[in-house]
């Protein structure tokens, strides 16, 4: 059975007919071609499919597409502005926080949700915010550093 949903994705209005058992990650990847959102486990364990839904970081494999009806979604494709990397993306590149890159979109979006709420997080707050995003490559150290640096860049930018 299909149901029509209307939502905002990366600032653009989207209307689509989706199966009622279709997950948000399937909708984003298969129907809309937004493959920056990754599918790592389908169980909400790994965090690779993290997107921001109405301001909160969620595992899009645990959300049905129909549940996102009326919602506002940010995926990794919507983060850079006018071809310029978001400070989080830039810091991940500059600080060596990316290896295989499969956890990166989800990791960045979890960090974005954190910084939107807490512009000046402690290291423990950063680690807690990304503790649902598994990374097997980096040992997290450079990711934590990158998020700290991005927070600083955003703060300075907003002060000026």
């Amino acid at each position: 059975m299909k149901k029509t949903i209307q939502l905002t994705i990366n600032g653009e209005p989207v209307e689509a007919a989706v199966s009622t058992n279709q997950t948000l990650v399937q909708f984003l990847r298969d129907d809309l071609g937004l493959t920056g959102t990754k599918h790592g486990c389908g169980l909400g364990d790994c965090g690779a499919c993290t997107v921001i839904l109405d301001g909160k970081a969620v595992n899009s494999c645990l959300v049905l597409a129909v549940q996102a009806d009326g919602g506002e979604i940010l995926t990794i494709e919507g983060l850079a502005e006018n071809g310029k990397l978001h400070p989080l993306q830039q810091a991940f590149v500059d600080k060596g926080a990316i290896q295989c890159g499969f956890c990166t979109p989800g990791m960045i979006l979890s960090a974005k949700a954190l910084l939107d709420e807490k512009p000046n997080p402690t290291e423990l707050e950063i680690r807690t915010a990304i503790s649902g995003n598994l990374c097997r490559c980096t040992g997290y150290q450079k990711i934590v550093e990158a998020i700290g640096e991005a927070a600083e860049v955003i703060r300075v930018r907003e002060e000026s």
Partner: protein, 784 residues
């Protein structure tokens, strides 16, 4: 160290922006018109004879395009090492583990493919199964492969010197045993493959692999397609760590189904299927004796290994050799004896994982050194330094340490962690421990016996001269090899990193054995350097002809060309370049001839300028049986100190800090080197404290998810102090060697030695959960 412009810096990865923006494409991100979706039927029972397979209902399901079993796939045996090809794509006579592949289906969507699987009827006659390696070795145990009586997949017996006599002569002999648990590599991207068979007879696989070259060979063999008609393309890969080092049933099924249907076919493993496919770290049982003199001199090591291989060989032959050969260093020994046994059980096959074959035995050995040091009253750091090998030493099993900064690593972590003020001075419940290790910079020999080059590289200049395109079959799997090759090419050509583009992971580009055994920096690096040098000499030759100057007077660097160290007279070249490119945004300028202008001249003289490079190691190692495994042109090494706090009431362990030093030769990209070091530590920490693939009594995995199989999160990892130690490796390009695997070697024993320091309890079984440590503490209190 040389004066480098690109190398030895902290360069952001060339693929960073693509990965940070979600533009980077992984295998599961591909879609093609008319694409079918596939799924594999796997055995629900651990050991059974297949009496009958009925696919008729599945074939009739609307939307199903093909159903294949061993009838369609044939019974061509494959595996990793030709000496032990023991798998067929689909089981035909019997299944040997829960997950063994029986059939595959292609349908117009995923749901239909799954439904079709449920309609395939398989009649099994269940057989007794065996899940424990020691049980499997007993007389009367269920036989898993007829060809291997006693379930003995492989045996290794090696001895260097007279070990028994040497042990007799020692002042002290200390024994230890150790047991790790089966691991899952837990890369975040599950395997995925898209196969496209064209009417021309050509098959292309877009697949998540570490080894496009080996996948190409295996798929060509099993699907009976001429190898020239098989192309394997590796898009971005979401981690591998070893298990993606061989062709999978997923890849072969997609290829076969595409060949049969003439349509593109895609399949991705679920997370549970990743666990079922496994090919990750074995379970090892180690039994060791170390003989030393009173002054701490190590003399002899006796080492026995039993490996639970699971139902097939996979990489296991190499694994069982590595468990012995990788203890030959980094300490001087007079003699060493090794007996290794790899045993079949009715579980998923184990294979290679980071630190291949060496990790568990290194853990046992490094604990044993600490136990011995304690008995003779020596500081563990001093004991290691007393026996340490240095550059130029040869191990007892003939591994040549052509560079070895092991001593420098130990000294770096000793001061970096403030060891001298902590060891023996911490309160109960706090502990500090250390360990060392080393690893190959690329296996000395290919998996199949061959005189093949291990790496070839092609560099092709753009016709305007502004871009060097590096074409390589090497596999970027997250470790940063594309960036490494770009840096080596840029340095060698004397141009900026941004003027190099790397095209990799495609068997059509070049030959490369792939991302395993920490080989690409050294081997692909050599080939890249050689290709760039050829380009340079071609350009120099044409410049010399055109400007009538000697070749020897021409030097390249910083994007410009100098003649006898000066600008020379190149006005004519500049004028014509600017004329040819009128209206372009970036005309060459400055007082020196640019590389771009020089490369353009070469193009005008000779057409597209191409340089090729190649590398294979010289003949390495001794002449004894199995001497090839463990050989390498160079060895990286690592030393670590770990500090822990243990809650003595609960056994809960907190890792407070890790200090890690690694000798990688010249650090091509310091940021990537640190990334490999820190990632290794996190995998080691997980294996030590949490990770264990568990089975029920019928051989079914009970924790096949990343929720129940726990890997470290950001909250589990302490601050790591990473210290890069740079030796100058004569056999490495620009003196570089490995970092990807050597760095995991010391992690587990350093942690276990720290736990002992904190508690007085010597744990010899992983993982050290709070329950296991609590029980051990209780036992100690009760004086058992």
């Amino acid at each position: 160290m040389g004066d480098y412009r690109v190398l030895n810096t902290r360069a952001p990865r060339v693929d960073g922006p693509a990965k940070a923006t979600g533009q980077a494409k992984y295998a599961d991100d591909f879609k093609m018109p008319g694409m079918l979706y596939a799924a594999i039927l796997q055995s629900p029972v651990a050991h059974a004879r297949i009496l009958h397979i009925d696919t008729s209902k599945a074939k009739k399901l609307p939307g199903v395009k093909a159903v294949v079993t061993s009838k369609e796939a044939g019974l061509i045996k494959y595996g990793v090492s030709p000496a032990r090809y023991d798998e067929t794509l689909f089981a035909h006579d019997k299944v040997r583990y829960v997950g063994d592949e029986i059939a595959a289906v292609a349908a117009f969507n995923q749901d239909t493919a799954q439904e079709a699987l449920s309609l395939i009827k398989v009649d099994y006659e269940e057989l007794p199964a065996v899940f424990d390696m020691f049980e499997a070795m007993k007389e009367g145990a269920p036989q898993i492969h007829d060809e291997f009586p006693g379930n003995m997949n492989a045996e290794v017996h090696q001895e260097f010197g007279d070990t028994e006599a040497a042990l007799e002569s020692c002042d002290l002999v200390v024994d230890h045993t150790f047991l790790n648990k089966r691991q899952d590599a837990a890369f975040i991207e599950p395997h995925s493959c898209l196969a496209v068979f064209e009417p021309t007879g050509r098959l292309t696989l877009y697949t998540s692999t570490q080894v496009p070259h080996y996948v190409m060979r295996t798929v060509a063999m099993t699907l009976q397609i001429p190898v020239g008609n098989v192309r394997v393309v590796k898009p971005y890969v979401g981690g591998g760590f070893g298990p993606k080092c061989e062709a999978t049933p997923l890849e072969m099924s997609c290829g076969l189904l595409s060949k049969i249907t003439g349509r593109p076919v895609k399949m991705s493993y679920s997370r549970e299927q990743v666990f079922l496919h496994s090919r990750a770290r074995h379970q090892f049982f180690a039994e060791m004796s170390l003989g030393v003199m009173k002054d701490g001199t190590m003399v002899a090591l006796k080492n026995k290994a039993v490996l639970d291989g699971g139902a097939y060989t996979s990489f296991g032959i190499a694994t069982v050799y590595y468990s012995g050969s990788l203890l030959g260093g980094p300490y001087k020994l007079k003699s060493m004896k090794y007996d290794g046994y790899r045993v079949y059980t009715n579980k998923p096959a184990c294979g290679a994982q980071r630190g291949h074959g060496g990790v568990a035995h290194r853990a046992c050995f490094e604990q044993l050194i600490d136990m011995t040091a304690e008995k003779i009253g020596m500081d563990p750091v001093d004991m290691r330094l007393k026996n340490i090998m240095t550059t130029g030493d040869m191990t007892v099993n003939e591994l040549d340490m052509s560079s070895l900064g092991m001593k420098e690593c130990i000294e770096a972590i000793r001061s970096g962690s403030d060891w001298n003020n902590k060891k023996g001075k911490l309160p109960r419940g706090k502990g500090i421990g250390m360990a060392c290790g080393f690893f190959v910079s690329g296996a000395g020999y290919p998996i199949y016996r061959s005189d093949t080059y291990h790496s070839t590289v092609v560099i092709k200049l753009s016709e305007d001269g502004g871009m060097a395109n590096v074409l390589t079959g090497s596999a970027e799997i997250g470790q940063g090899s594309d960036t490494t090759m770009a840096m080596i090419a840029a340095e060698t050509l004397g141009i900026k990193l941004e003027n190099v583009r790397v095209y990799s992971g495609d068997t059509d580009y070049s030959v490369d054995l792939g991302a395993y055994s920490s080989r690409q920096t050294l081997m692909t690096g050599h080939a890249t350097k050689e290709a760039a040098e050829e380009i340079k000499s071609k350009i120099a030759l044409y410049l010399s002809e055109e400007l009538d100057v000697p070749v020897a007077s021409i030097t390249f660097g910083d994007g410009i060309v100098k003649f006898d160290g000066g600008p020379g007279n190149f006005d004519k070249l500049r004028t014509s370049y600017i004329k040819e490119h009128r209206g372009w945004t970036d005309p060459p300028s400055g007082e020196y001839l640019t590389f771009r202008e020089a490369a353009r001249l070469a193009y005008l003289k000779a057409g597209t300028i191409v340089g090729t490079g190649k590398y294979k190691p010289p003949k390495l190692g001794g002449s004894y049986k199995g001497a090839a495994v463990g050989t390498s042109p160079a060895y990286g090494c690592s030393a670590q100190i770990v500090e822990v706090s243990v809650d003595l009431e609960t056994g809960q362990i907190t890792v407070d800090g890790m200090t890690d030093a690694h000798d990688c030769g010249l650090a091509i990209n310091k940021m990537s080197v640190e990334g490999q070091m820190q990632g290794s530590l996190s995998m080691g920490l997980g294996e030590c404290l949490f990770e264990e693939v568990k089975f029920d009594s019928r051989g079914r995995i009970i924790n096949p998810s990343l929720g129940e199989y726990k890997i470290p999160t950001a909250l589990d990892m302490p601050k790591i102090k990473s210290i890069i130690v740079e030796s100058n490796e004569p056999n490495g390009p620009y003196g570089a060697k490995e970092v990807g695997e050597g760095a995991i070697m010391p992690t587990i024993p350093a942690m276990l030695n720290a736990i002992y320091d904190a508690t007085g309890v010597r744990v010899n079984e992983l993982p050290v959960t709070s329950e296991r440590l609590f029980m051990a503490l209780k036992k100690k209190e009760e004086g058992v």
